[in-house]
Subunit: 516 residues, 2 copies
């Protein structure tokens, strides 16, 4: 057994059996080891942003980390933007990054770079393997770190000689994840006191507090006490749809968020962060809650949020018999006429199957259309969490690998789609059940709006050259087909709903370019 | 004048009038400032790897830095892989990276990250602007750093409030670049002594020593003294073709390189690094020269290499009348039959116009075919310098922006092309005269070879899943058309040469998928 075999065996022993990969020469001994281990599923991404984004989508749905395999500093660098999103999503992930052989580093060969330095900003934990004898223990520690609640990015740098040299020690088994910590009784009583005070209180949820079971408890608390429920603006995963409490999210727009929160006197955080502006703007506040709003963190994302909510309900004397009201299943009429983002979301709510997974990177197009799916069949809803665009297609890819029995629907802005469109090829290769809907407005619409908000007047030539994608227009049908994914273009609501119906009915990946 | 205007004016005053950009909200005041300055040419890339790679190609040909405009940490992260190549190419570059407003950073909004930490591994110089009053001086310093010989990566982080607040000071003019330093007389005499000793000596060149004027001097030295000329394995730019001294490069393969260098007793470096293995392999050396080879650095890449060679020629008494022999213009017969990488290079040598710019990221396909263009019309030859794949298309894009009168030909491996294929859209938008030739072998051929070299036997399922790109095959014609670039597929030498002839004759971007 060499170091590469030990690494592979350690990951498998810890239950990590899926590896999203884009290997290079320095990882070739690990590739050979993976080749000897058919239990490990290796999924190739043709760009590292696909690899890390897919590992994120996988872990959000599978509730356990995937491994990634990346090639030296530049390979890691290409994956960093989606590691940023994963870090913000509290996603567990084990990155295996190859490096030159330890004795080769001193020669500063062309591909040499400061991999630890690159890894640190987007990782919670970084370690370089020193020898083939420690690779198993190092990998087991990486798994422990990744599984640390609420989920961490662990990056293990593996010099090539530590994979090809013999590994003499035993394969280390990473200890099982520890249970989540319960919230402190004092904090709990303080939250209960605040809610009982009669002041206008908002219970802000994120993380696993947005799963059905926790949401039902929160909804019972709200119904009994009059407290308002609200979700963070961005969340890794929400369980939504008919039969599950409908919960709004803090709006993206600073102005809308300030207006929505203006009467909140008390904010109790359950796995959520107190809301701040996504960006700063001249003359607008960074903190979105009113100045005198009392903010209390009942539970961090790492806590046992389900237990915290149950305990809080108990403390507040919420009757166990109280059944919270939840939205009924209601399918809207199919849209007709002009194809708009609203028509897309209406068709989706009308047609999406039970148990779908929605991956939302619709950016400006879908931002205000969250409510369109409150009454849709129950589904999971995954968002871009760190604002680093280019996660939609990879996220959908990883979710589909984790949940092969479920339909994945990716709501994808066109500008953002171009960052990691290579993920479509992985969907074709793995024949994943993903329907990608491109909101094709042929511009960085969000930026056009931002520029307008500056009062800069009509954009001139240079601004248009940087914000418009219409010269030439991207042809998403050809792009999809170029990567082996069946594509359709829709320019009317009727055409879109038919394309969607067909795409949902057929197995394998589809892309629909919704020309808005 | 606000900070953004001051930044823009400072760049223009320093002669930086081209900005490769992928902006976001935090850069919107800078976008508005650029919009007020039509002298700045703004070129949009739909992914940041295109932006930094194009800035590299631009600077290699224009011999002055371009600016890039990137959005926060993730935007910079996406550009890092090609910054790595640019750093290895000694390319001057000024990166402008937006950040949250200074007062907003403490709130850890979703897009917040350690931008300085991300920038440092791939930059020679990093600074964060502290206030709108210092932005001009900071930008001028960034230009000075970028222009420091032999060329540096300067990254200036610009918080949004330093762009929107008023800038009260004057616009700072970056001082003109200082002349390159001349080599030390002792080092020169030592090099001359080594060459005169009669031992087998190789003069290894890189950087500006590979331009025509310097090469002619080096060739005269070689002719007079019997010293061997050799270029580094990877070089930012070589002036080549008929009428210019033909010079071989150190082979990529460790085995071939060791064999080529095995009789070298002395190595004199002129802007080059002593050759080391691109990767390490078990049982193979890191240093490619023989153990007892004496290595002398006559000149670093920052030195005045032209002067160093002239001085050396003088010291060695090379007669000024000695004319070095250079290759004649010789066009090969057009290839026929099966389409191979050799056929592609033959057709290219037969048809490429005088003064072309070849951007080479052909990786395994073109690796041994350098000699095919020794007798081609004079041309510039730009390479991937840091081994970070995904530079070919961006490099060609930037070179075409710098040299609108010249035909750019990009020799592009298919696997690598997928990293930054978005650059094709920029070529279409700017109507650049670029012909992209995709070496479509539908695999990571380099890795297949590396795996074979391990003695791992025939690849099994997992290895094949990570190394082969044939399921599904990428359709480069559709991918190109999807981004507005005319595409053709060639499956025979005859079809290829006709497609190439047509692509070279017509203005604007073309792509030819050469199915090998």
């Amino acid at each position: 057994m060499n170091g590469a075999d030990a690494l592979c065996a350690t990951l498998l022993a810890a239950g990590i059996d899926t590896c999203f990969a884009n290997p290079g020469t320095s990882e070739m001994h690990f590739v050979a080891a993976l080749d000897r281990q058919p239990r490990m599923r290796c999924v190739l991404g043709l760009f590292e942003g696909v690899v890390t984004g897919a590992a994120d989508g996988y872990a959000r749905m599978a509730e356990r980390p995937a491994a990634t395999l990346l090639h030296l500093g530049p390979g890691l660098a290409n994956g960093l933007a989606n590691l940023h999103n994963a870090r913000r999503a509290n996603t567990p992930m084990v990155n295996i990054v190859g490096d030159h052989a330890t004795y080769h580093l001193q020669h500063d060969a062309p591909l040499t770079s400061d991999i630890e330095g690159l890894a640190r900003p987007m990782s919670h934990w970084v370690r370089s393997v020193r020898s083939s004898d420690s690779v198993s223990a190092d990998a087991a520690q990486a798994v422990v770190e990744a599984r640390t609640h609420p989920g961490r990015i662990a990056t293990l740098i593996v010099p090539a000689d530590t994979t090809w040299n013999p590994a003499t020690g035993p394969v280390v088994t990473a200890p099982a994840p520890v249970p989540r910590q319960r919230v402190d009784a004092t904090e709990l009583r303080r939250a209960a006191d605040m809610i009982r005070s009669g002041k206008r209180t908002t219970l802000m949820l994120s993380g696993v507090a947005l799963r059905e079971k926790a949401l039902l408890v929160a909804a019972r608390i709200a119904q009994h006490t009059g407290v308002q429920l609200l979700a963070q603006q961005s969340n890794a995963r929400m369980e939504r749809g008919a039969g599950r409490p409908a919960i709004e999210r803090v709006p993206f727009s600073t102005e809308l968020a300030v207006s929505q929160l203006r009467e909140v006197e008390q904010l109790v955080l359950v796995g959520a962060k107190a809301p701040v502006g996504f960006f700063a703007y001249p003359g607008q506040p960074s903190v979105l809650t009113p100045k005198d709003c009392a903010i209390h963190t009942l539970a961090s994302p790492a806590h046992d949020l389900q237990h915290a909510l149950e305990w809080l309900a108990d403390e507040l004397g919420v009757p166990t018999s109280l059944a919270p009201s939840t939205p009924e299943l209601a399918r809207p009429a199919l849209p007709e006429g002009t194809l708009t983002a609203q028509a897309v979301m209406t068709a989706l709510a009308a047609l999406m199957p039970e148990n779908s997974i929605l991956c939302d990177e619709s950016v400006s197009s879908g931002r205000t259309l969250f409510g369109f799916t409150h009454n849709a069949p129950r589904h999971d809803y995954l968002q871009i969490t760190g604002g680093s665009i280019g996660i939609g297609i990879p996220l959908a890819t990883g979710a589909a690998i984790a949940c092969p029995q479920r339909k994945v629907i990716c709501l994808q802005a066109d500008g953002s789609a171009m960052y990691t469109a290579q993920g479509l090829w992985t969907q074709a290769r793995e024949q994943l059940d993903v329907v990608t809907i491109i909101f094709s407005n042929r511009s960085y619409a969000i930026l056009r709006n931002e520029l307008k908000a500056l009062g800069a007047g009509e954009p001139g030539r240079n601004a248009r050259r940087m914000l418009e994608l219409d010269q030439p227009p991207l042809d998403w049908v050809q792009l999809a087909r170029g990567m082996g994914v069946e594509g359709t273009r829709a320019t009317s609501a009727e055409a879109f709903r038919e394309a969607l119906r067909r795409a949902l009915a057929e197995p394998g990946p589809h892309l629909i370019e919704a020309v808005l």
